[in-house]
Subunit: 293 residues, 2 copies
């Protein structure tokens, strides 16, 4: 069981809710797995299942043919890849570096170029599908980079996702993820405003859903998150604080391209207000609270 | 084939694209159909199939046990129902009046009350599903009014729609339709902004859809209207000018309830800008043009 002859050790950095499931699929498939994450105890379960703990990203890099990162913020990505003890400096010649964090498209290009200059193959490959998709190996994986590198690591990606698409050159995976978040951002306003209006006008929101969710107003969020809102369940599928991060990246990238996205800007400001109200650790459906606090 | 014993003549006012299909289903089912519409020639086909032309709403009212209206704007609804020669004044005792126009919830309540005072049964029952839904008899029908009246006319509604829900007292059908339009309005911004971002960042929008349309960003609009935008097809399924009318009704109703809907307000202003650019007669997907003119 190997990626290709001589390529069989995968390093995984970032063992959070998503990363743990994703790395677990690789381990189960028989890859040698080395792991590093900021809080060591989060990796304990994987280590118990056979993963090798590494104390530093540099140590992990020295041992790995393919390195996958799934960390928090662009600044974390930047440090892990481009810092002095970073992956670009430390990776084995010819290694594949796959950043699956939702991060900046521009940073993805910088990493790609720095990697290429050292004979390394970098891909950006953020995902959607959340913790459930990660657990079930059914993520949507949006990749950017060279086709050859993408095809080389495809067997690994197929252990984690079902909808795996190379979107274009380096940065294109991140740009595609931004499209995803942009579409969600305004739609969440629509879902929450429809429910706020339903409530204010004395309708039964559950009955309203019966009329509207299968037609032109239908969406994943309306079918999956509106019922949680109606039940008063604001627990996180996807965290408000992470969504604000993503929208910030998208707004900055759009600004760089001279593109005005007023819907996204409005959604971001409403989510920021929501975080200020104390809902940063809740799920994105908590946006409803910004309308009816 | 009748609604119930003694109830077999239906008057239909407003033979537009939607109304023509809807009235046609009633005629095919064997109801005696009387029709009136502002532009007589639009009714010619139905008359050729057996419908009876009436020169005035009053004449139609005198002949009908059930009257269905599907006209343009709230002011048309107000005139037809509450004007001097209007339906409330002219309808036969015990008649059922069903307004299927997307119109004001407050006006629906006024009509209901005026009708009740004269022993008439008024329902508001706007629809979604567009020209295709009307043609195929698969509309979603959102009704408001008394349950008894709703059940009495249900056999008629079932000829026009498949998802038929009584949402509550008079006005509730219109309020539900507003929920539908509110959800669509912000989502359209999300869809168009995602595509504008995709284009600006050099992605292939078609390939982007492959990655995002089946996940949390998925929506009816993303799957059905984004491909038209990508093809440069801005022909109307649903007209920009009609959507602006609906958003105006929703914003006014929200204001009356002291409810702030910033996403809807932003969408309305973008669509207004789009109409000012000359796209009022195009489909709602033309919103894309407001981002990349």
């Amino acid at each position: 069981m190997s990626l290709k002859p001589g390529v069989s050790t995968v390093g995984f950095i970032g063992i959070g809710v998503m990363g743990k499931s994703m790395a677990g699929h690789l381990l189960k498939a028989g890859y040698k797995l080395h792991v590093y994450t900021r809080t060591q105890e989060k990796a304990e379960e994987l280590v118990a299942e056979g993963a090798v703990w590494q104390d530093t990203p540099a140590g992990l890099a020295a041992a790995s043919d393919v390195i996958i990162t799934m960390v928090g913020y662009p600044k974390d990505v930047e440090q892990i890849y481009l810092g002095e003890q970073g992956l670009i400096a430390q990776a084995k010649p010819g290694a594949y570096l796959i950043d699956m964090t939702t991060s900046s498209p521009l940073l993805a290009r910088r990493i790609y170029e720095a990697a290429a200059a050292r004979g390394l193959h970098a891909l950006d490959a953020p995902v959607s599908g959340g913790d459930v998709g990660a657990r079930e190996g059914r993520l949507s994986i949006m990749a950017g980079g060279d086709e050859e590198a993408f095809e080389a690591v495809r067997p690994l990606l197929e252990l984690m996702g079902t909808n795996i698409v190379l979107q274009g050159k380096a940065g294109s995976g991140q740009h595609t993820k931004m499209c995803n978040q942009i579409a969600i951002a305004s739609n969440m306003m629509g879902v929450c405003e429809a429910l706020a209006y339903a409530k204010a006008s004395g309708l039964d929101p559950q009955t309203v859903l019966k009329s509207i969710e299968t037609g032109a107003a239908g969406s994943w969020s309306l079918s999956n998150l509106a019922p949680r809102i109606i039940d008063g369940n604001f627990e996180p599928g996807f965290y408000v604080k992470h969504f604000i991060k993503d929208m910030g990246i998208a707004l900055e990238a759009a600004k760089d391209m001279g593109l005005d996205l007023p819907g996204l800007a409005l959604a971001e400001s409403l989510y920021q207000r929501l975080a200020d109200m104390g809902y940063a650790e809740k799920g994105t459906q908590a946006l409803y609270k910004a309308y009816r606090p």
